[in-house]
Structures are given as structure tokens and as C-alpha cells.
Symmetry: C2
Subunit: 202 residues, 2 copies
């Protein structure tokens, strides 16, 4: 193959916005969030590991939170979901959390993606690290901040266990009758569990 | 390599117990249990699909239950575990179920294997079908039979959701502090959830 037939030569005028630069930054960021967690990951460290100038990371991502959201490539906005859960009486937060969870899973556009995420979480140390950070940073820390209870970390890890299991049993392994139950019945079944984990004396 | 150096020639007197026959039967059985479930799988059907005489299946396995146990290749005896859970007051069954579950997972020899099973269950339709049958047939049906409550199928599917999630959160994804909690604390945390799913008015 001649040189002309290959890909275009890179000239000195190439802009720092080539399509693969953003992707490389995201790959590095995903690895760092998975390996070191949200708190220990810095934009500067990601820039260094990706071999780019920190200003370039800032060019693409307004801050660490935005970088994390992009690295997770979520199809839903966790801010909106958390607001739905927190908006109301703390005495009903279990029901609202389950209903919000079912609402996201109930949308066919999300379900395939979420199922893939659960599978990847179960099978890969990297993805499970990323998922742990996402659950903690985007959702559970913000719910915990609302609770005026001791042991919030323990409470939210118990909630995580029931919700991951609900996703597995209802959508991935599909254990009946839970898999075919309507949302209201699932809220009645699982809502009190979440309520107890979040607000009861444990 | 000479013929003598290779494996022995198969004479007409070859017994129907060649090492790979049992393995072939198990492969077919595993597929059938995963695809069609425990109830719809028959020794005759497995023999036909494996291309062997039904008597040969009976030669290796005393019955369908034994074939299923061998196909699951479990490192623990579910009969013993279920007996531990059922042996006592129904008012404490939630705590006993969680304690038995943690006891199995707590043994290093089992943990790697069980983690692999959870991962495989999440990632493969085949394995998740097999796991669904195993949980139902070996464990949950037998616990349900002990409960004098309506909706036993719903109850045990709710229990399955919490226990699968506990396995994911504590051993696979390792969400803290749940992952490092001692067994007694996990029983206090999760036992009441299982108790409610099994015996409360839902």
C-alpha cells in the first residue's frame, strides 16, 4: 500500500480536538476512577496519565464531576433521580427509592444498558470498582447526607445490596414471580426493606 | 509416535463406562436444566439428547435429583444447609438463613467458587437458568413447604433478591462497610429483612 493510500499525514496545524483525544482522556479517567476511586482521581493526574496538557482536559470537561459522568456514560441523570427520591417525607423514602429505581429499569431504552452494566459489574473488577464509586458518589452519599441517622455508610451499603439483588433477580436472572410483578407490588414488597435500612434503629 | 505409544486401541469389549460418557451426559443435562427447567427435564430425554441408552444414565445417576446435583457440581450439600435453616423456630428463620448463607461464603474454599458462580449467573443466560432452577428446586421450594403462609413463591423470590444482592455487595463488588462487617452484624442487619419476606403479612 502506498503512503497516499494510508491515512492522512498529521500536519503541525492539527487542532488539539481530534476525536480520539477526548476518548483517550475518558479511557484513562475510567481506569483511574475504578482503580483509585473518585476522591483520589484528579484532572491533573488524568491529564498526566493520558499524556495531554491539563488545559485540554479542562477544555472537554468542566470539572471532575463532569469527567466522571462522561466516563460512566450514563443514560440517565443521577441528579434528577436523587432529587425524586429526596423530594418528600423521610418516612416514605424507601417507597420513593424503589419506585424511582423501577422507573429507570422500566424504560426499554435503559433496561438493556443497565442489564449490561450489572453483568459487567459482576464479571469485572474494574467495572465493579467504577460502579462502587458511581453508586457512592452520585447517589448514596447524597441520600446519606439527607438522613439524620448514625451509621449512614452501613445503611446505604445495605440499600445497595437489596437494590443490586432486585436488579439481578427481577431483570437479569428473572426469578418469578418477582420478575413479572407490577411496580406497585414491588414497591410494597421491597419499599419497607429500604425504609428500614435507611431510617430504623439497626 | 508409534501406535503402541498412543492410547490403547478400543476393542469390542469396551465397557459403557468410558470417562467421557458421564461427562457428555452431564453436559446435556446441564443444558436441559438451564433451558427447560428441573421439572421438564427427564432422564430419558437427557439420554436421547446425549445419544446413549437410558440404562446408561441410570448406571451413573440414581435419579433426576442426583443428576441435577452432579450437573450443578456443588461444593456444598444443599440438604444439610436447608436442614440448618429449617431446624428451629419459624420466628428466627430469617437469622438462621442469613447465618447459614454467611457460613458457606465464609469458607475460603467455597468463596472463590461461589464468586465465580455469581459472575457466571450474571453474565450467562444458561447459567442463570441453571441457578434459578437450583435455588428453586434445592433450597426455596423446601423452605416454602415449611412456611404456612400465602404467596410463598413471591416470598422466596424476594429472599433470593436480597441474598443475591448480599453476595454481590459483600463478596463480589465489595461495598463498604458491608464487605468488612462481621457475620453477627450482617445477621442483625439482613436477618429481619429475610424474616419479613418469609413470614410477615406482605
Amino acid at each position: 500500500m502506498t503512503r497516499q493510500g494510508g491515512r492522512a499525514a498529521r500536519g503541525p496545524g492539527r487542532r488539539p480536538g481530534a476525536p480520539d483525544t477526548r476518548g483517550s482522556i475518558l479511557d484513562v479517567a475510567r481506569q483511574s476512577f475504578a482503580d483509585h476511586g473518585y476522591d483520589a482521581t484528579t484532572l491533573r493526574g488524568v491529564a498526566r496519565a493520558a499524556g495531554v496538557d491539563p488545559a485540554l482536559v479542562h477544555h472537554y470537561f468542566a470539572g471532575k464531576h463532569q469527567l466522571f459522568l462522561a466516563a460512566m456514560d450514563l443514560s440517565v441523570d443521577p441528579e434528577v433521580l436523587v432529587s425524586q427520591v429526596l423530594d418528600g417525607d423521610l418516612a416514605d423514602i424507601g417507597d420513593r427509592l424503589v419506585r424511582t429505581f423501577l422507573g429507570v429499569w422500566g424504560q426499554p431504552a435503559h433496561r438493556a444498558r443497565l442489564t449490561a452494566m450489572v453483568r459487567a459489574t459482576a464479571s469485572s473488577e474494574n467495572v465493579s470498582g467504577l460502579m462502587r464509586e458511581a453508586l457512592t458518589h452520585l447517589i448514596f452519599d447524597r441520600i446519606a447526607a439527607r438522613l439524620d441517622r448514625p451509621d449512614t455508610a452501613l445503611r446505604v451499603s445495605a440499600v445497595a445490596s437489596q437494590l443490586m439483588g432486585l436488579a439481578m433477580a427481577r431483570y437479569v436472572v428473572r426469578i418469578e414471580p418477582l420478575a413479572s410483578l407490577d411496580d406497585d407490588a414491588v414497591v410494597r414488597l421491597v419499599g419497607p426493606t429500604i425504609q428500614r435500612y435507611l431510617t430504623a434503629d439497626l
